[in-house]
Structures are given as C-alpha cells and as structure tokens.
C-alpha cells in the first residue's frame, strides 16, 4: 500500500515534473544561449509538431496519410499571401484553418479508401496542389512565387513553442476523452466501432482536420523563416516522409515516440543537410528501412520493453 503510493507519486513527478522543467528551460532558452540555438530548436520543434500531429491521426486510426506536406504547404502559402497585412497570430491561425478545411474536404472524399490507396491519394495532393498554384499564380499575377514577411528568430521560436505545447495538450486531452477512445476502437476494428454506435466517418474526418490544423499552423509559422516562397519550395514532399520516418523510428506511440525520433533526426538534418544533403537522405532511407525491419515499435518501444523486462525480472527474484 505504502509502496504503491510511493511509486504513484514517483510516476506523477515523471509525468508532470519532467515536462514542467523542460518547458521552463525552453522558455528561457534564448536568454542564455547563442543566437543559433533557438534557430536549431525551432526546426526541431517543427518536426516534433509534425510527427506528433501525424501520429494523432495516422497512428491511432491506422490510415497512413502522406498529405503532411500538402497541409504544411497550404499553411506556408497562406502565410505568404496574407502575412504582410495581418499580425503573426492571425496568419498562423488562418494557415491552420485553411489546412483543416482542406483536410475536411479531402477526408470526406477519401476516407473510405483503405490501406495503400489512401496513402497514394494523399500523396497525390502534394504533387497536385503546387501545379494548380503555379498555374493560378501565372494566370492571376504573371509571376511565380512571392516574398514572405520577415519576423525575428526569437518571435518564431516562441510562436513555435506555443504551438507545440498547445498541440501536446490537445493530444493529451483527446486521448483522455471519449473521442480518443473512439479513435482507438476505429484503429482496432472499424466495423466493430461502427457497430457500437460511433460515428466513424465523423470521428475520422474531424481528427484528420485537427491534425491538419496543426500542420498548417506549423507551416505558416515556418514560412517566415524563408524570405522567398514558390509552390515547389512550399510543397516539399520531404515534409510528408520525414515525420513518418521520425514517428516510426521513435515509435508510433502518443508522446515520446515521435518526440524522440524528431529530436534525433531534426538534429542530424541540421548538421548534415547543408554539407552532405545526399548522405543525409541516404542515411534517412537506410534508417527507415532498418526501423521497419527491426524496430516495429521504435526506439521508445524497445526501451519500454527492456525496462519492463528488467523490472519484471527484479520483481520475480
């Protein structure tokens, strides 16, 4: 009894204390580090946010979406269009909203497709939208691409941090709610979920839209880091693949899986991509393959398993 309570308080501290300390450190980060650190941290946050929001929909329902780049791109482009006339929070929210609306439309059309068809369809979006954008821009303005409003790195850093914290809170709340339970049962068996009275289509479409909202908002925030945008820069297919890889590598689990994967890969990318872009992408491919073959639950799954084993062994003896 005493021991149980002790382990509970210990777990409580890990669960809430650790994130609180991490958050406090991150909030004060720009005060005591070099100018480069917040820039690096911003792109790490971006990848964490993207892979956590990918896991929010695809991890729980089992529908593999490759539309991440499309939603990010929509966010980037929204920011590029209206960023000069409205303040940062407005265009970030606008980017997220436009992405969420697109996700609702796409979801309503395609979420009855199963398996790889859905993946291919969503990936097609990444290739389709920039073509239309280029076409439309050339028709309407006679130019391709546009300049984006420039905002200080510290502001972007805090914007991204707020976005990430909001996302993690939303994911936490969703998982604890009826909605989260509905999602989980859809992932396990969609037919059974429909039979117990869950509005399967509604839950799927709304979750897809929720994850797209954050992807779009992330895109809109990051848009200010590039000064010049054109459709092929905004809709970069790597934004579809990298979050998936990070999630698989870390483990398709609600929090720590995508977090660990994103931190490792975003760091690697920052270090390697300017000097050896091909080598980075090569490593990326090799790790993706190796993770699929050998780490079905990712690094976090592996650690958990090892932890359980050693814990269990100690409990037996």
């Amino acid at each position: 009894m005493d021991q149980a309570r002790k382990s509970m308080t210990w777990q409580w501290w890990v669960k809430w204390g650790l994130p609180a300390v991490a958050l406090a450190l991150l909030v004060t980060l720009p005060l005591y580090t070099s100018r480069y650190t917040p820039i690096l941290a911003t792109s790490i946050f971006m990848y964490i946010a993207l892979s956590v929001s990918w896991v929010l929909f695809s991890g729980s329902t089992g529908y593999m979406s490759l539309a991440t780049a499309a939603f990010v791109g929509v966010g980037i482009y929204t920011a590029a269009m209206i960023g000069k006339s409205v303040p940062l929070p407005v265009f970030v929210l606008a980017g997220g909203t436009v992405s969420a609306l697109l996700a609702m439309l796409v979801g309503a059309l395609t979420l009855r497709l199963r398996g790889v068809y859905f993946a291919i369809f969503t990936f097609g979006l990444v290739m389709l939208i920039p073509q239309f954008l280029v076409f439309w821009e050339l028709q309407a303005f006679g130019t391709r691409g546009r300049f984006v409003v420039v905002i200080s790195y510290t502001t972007i850093y805090y914007a991204m941090l707020i976005l990430l914290v909001a996302l993690l809170l939303v994911v936490y709340l969703v998982r604890r709610s009826r909605w989260g339970l509905a999602l989980q049962s859809i992932g396990e068996s969609e037919e059974a979920a429909a039979h117990v009275g869950i509005n399967v289509t509604m839950v799927k479409v709304m979750t897809f839209a929720l994850s797209a909202f954050f992807m779009g908002a992330v895109g809109a925030t990051m848009a200010t880091r590039w000064t010049y945008i054109d459709p092929y820069i905004a809709f970069n297919a790597n934004f579809s693949f990298l979050p998936v890889l990070m999630a698989i590598f870390g483990g398709i689990l609600p929090f720590y899986g995508p977090l660990v994967g994103a931190v490792i890969f975003a760091y690697l990318q920052e270090k390697l991509i300017t000097k050896f872009p091909e080598v980075y992408m090569l490593i990326f491919g090799i790790v993706l393959v190796a993770a699929i073959l050998y780490l079905p639950n990712g690094i976090v799954g592996l650690v958990q398993k090892a932890w359980q084993r050693s814990w269990g062994r100690r409990a037996n003896t």
Partner: protein, 349 residues
Amino acid sequence: MDLVTVLDIVIGGLLIGGIYALIAMGLSLQYGVARVLNIAHGEFIMLGAFATWALYTTLHINPLIALVIVGPIVFVLGYLLHRTFFRHLLTSRPVLGEIIILGAVISWTAYELLKVYTTANPLLAIAMGIPLAIVLDFVLHRTVLKRVAPSAPSLAAFEGASMLATFGLLYIIQNMAIIVWGSSSKGYTFLATPVNLAGAVFAANRLVTLAFAVGIGLAFYLFLARTRMGKAIRAAAQDPTTAGLMGVNINQVLAICFGLGAALAGVAGVLYSMCFAISATMGLERTVVAIIVVVLGGLGSIPGSFIGGILLGVVGEIVKYFEPSLVLAGYYIIFILLLMLRPKGLMGK
C-alpha cells in the same frame, strides 16, 4: 484544330503510352502478385536509364543491346531484394541476405567517408564493410532481434510496412545515384532522324521505342498466359496459400514476380533514355503515373495495365496540348474520378 494536330497528339500519346504501359505492367506484377506497392519502382526506371546512358557514352554500346544487358541485371537485383528484404517482412530472417545488405551499405558509407577525408579506395571500404556487417548482424541478433520476435503479420500490415520500406529504398537508390552521377540531367542522341507519319513528324527513336514496348508487352503477356511459370504466377496472384499447397514454390514465385516487375521498369528506363533527358530524381513522378495506370487498368490485370498505359499517354498529350503545366494534375484528376466511380478499374474483376 486540324487533322495533323490531332494525329500529332494521338501518335505522341501512343509513343509515350508504350513506355507507361511497360512501367505499369511491372508495378501491377509487384503489387498484384507480390503485394508490395513499390514506391521505388521509378528508381528502377532511373537505374535502367542511367545504365544505358553510361554504357552508351563510355563503351559506345548500342542502347538496343543495352536492353538485353540491363533487363537481366535489374531482374536479379529485384529478385534478391525480395528474397532478403521483403521476405523478412513476411516471416523469417535470412542472415546471409542481411549481411550482404548491411555490408553493401557500410562499405558504401565507408567509401564515401574515405573519399571526403583521405583517398577513395573501394577495396579498403569493402574490407572494412563486410567484417563490420557480420559483427553488427551478430550483435543485432543477440540484442535487439532477440526481444522483438517477428510474428507473421496480416496482409494489410505487410502492405503498409512494405510500402514504407520501399520509400526507404527510394531514398537509398536515388541518393546513391545522385552521389555517383550528380543531380544534373543527362542525355544522348540515338536514332534522332525525323520520320513523317501522314504529316505528323516524330523522331525515329520514339517509333523504335513504341515497337519495342509493344513487343516486350506482348511477349510478357504470352509468358504469363502460356508457360508453366506464368501459370504459377497467376495462381499465386489468386490465392498464395492454396497455390503453395498445390506445389507452387511460393517464395520463389513471389521473388520472380518482383524481379520481373523491376526488370520491366529497367527496360522501360532503357527505352525512355533513348528519347528523353534523364535525371537521378526522375523516378517518383514515373511511379505516380504507374500507380495511376495500374488503378486505371484494374489491379493485377496485365492487359488492363497495358491498355491503361496507352490511354493515359494519350490523355496526357491532350492535356499537354491545351495547358502543358497541368499534365500531372490531369492524371491525378483521372485517378480521383476513378477511385470514386469505378475503384476496380477498367478491366478489374
């Protein structure tokens, strides 16, 4: 729009459609039978195209002869890939295959690192790579793999995992190609004499391409319809488990299917390189086209893929005539409409 323009569009569509047909037949075999939706399919086209380009520019080998060289090599590559890589995802783990893959990867990385820091020495790289791979594989089996016992996955799980694995493959092949050949586009001239077809003018190489595409497609169809191996492949496509019970060596057949699919892509790449400029990043767009064609023709239907390929080629040329920047968008809209109106495709069952 006069008659010559119409002819121009239709014949142009047929010419590119022949290549699409070959690519799609390969993918149809890989996805329809081996159940691997190969996103790296286009990379085999790229490999075929670059191999032909390299053979032609360095050794002056006729691209039509390269057809005979590239096809079998890519087949073996695809066959081994399925035997090692995708086999692992299905059930067991062949240690030798892992060591070969790991060894190749480590040797390559070592070679690149040597090139950056000291001098390029492939032998040294291999000498480092193979022992490291053996040790690494041993360690992996002793530590990680012991805990994560592979269980036989469901078909849906296999499809998802194998598709993601081919994404990894795409990055590996593409970036190796960029490291070797650079990212600029390449090309050579071969049989570029103009030929007049009732007013529409085309280069001779494009007509040769179509002839070969149709010939290879037909030969392939006959192989599936008439030979014993073809029968085994069709049986495996219908029901792998029962086919296995009837004495079909199912692992062999699936690997052969994957190899043949890759070989068709490689051969299509050879033909492609005769007419158009090639680049190391050309693969993904071709893969998307191939997937659309396979869905259009009906999953697993070889004649469907062939007809779908020709059809998509013609549609592409029509869209290109009106608005060249929207060709891919046009393909994609066909794909959306198809998935909604007739998901089983033109010739699907």
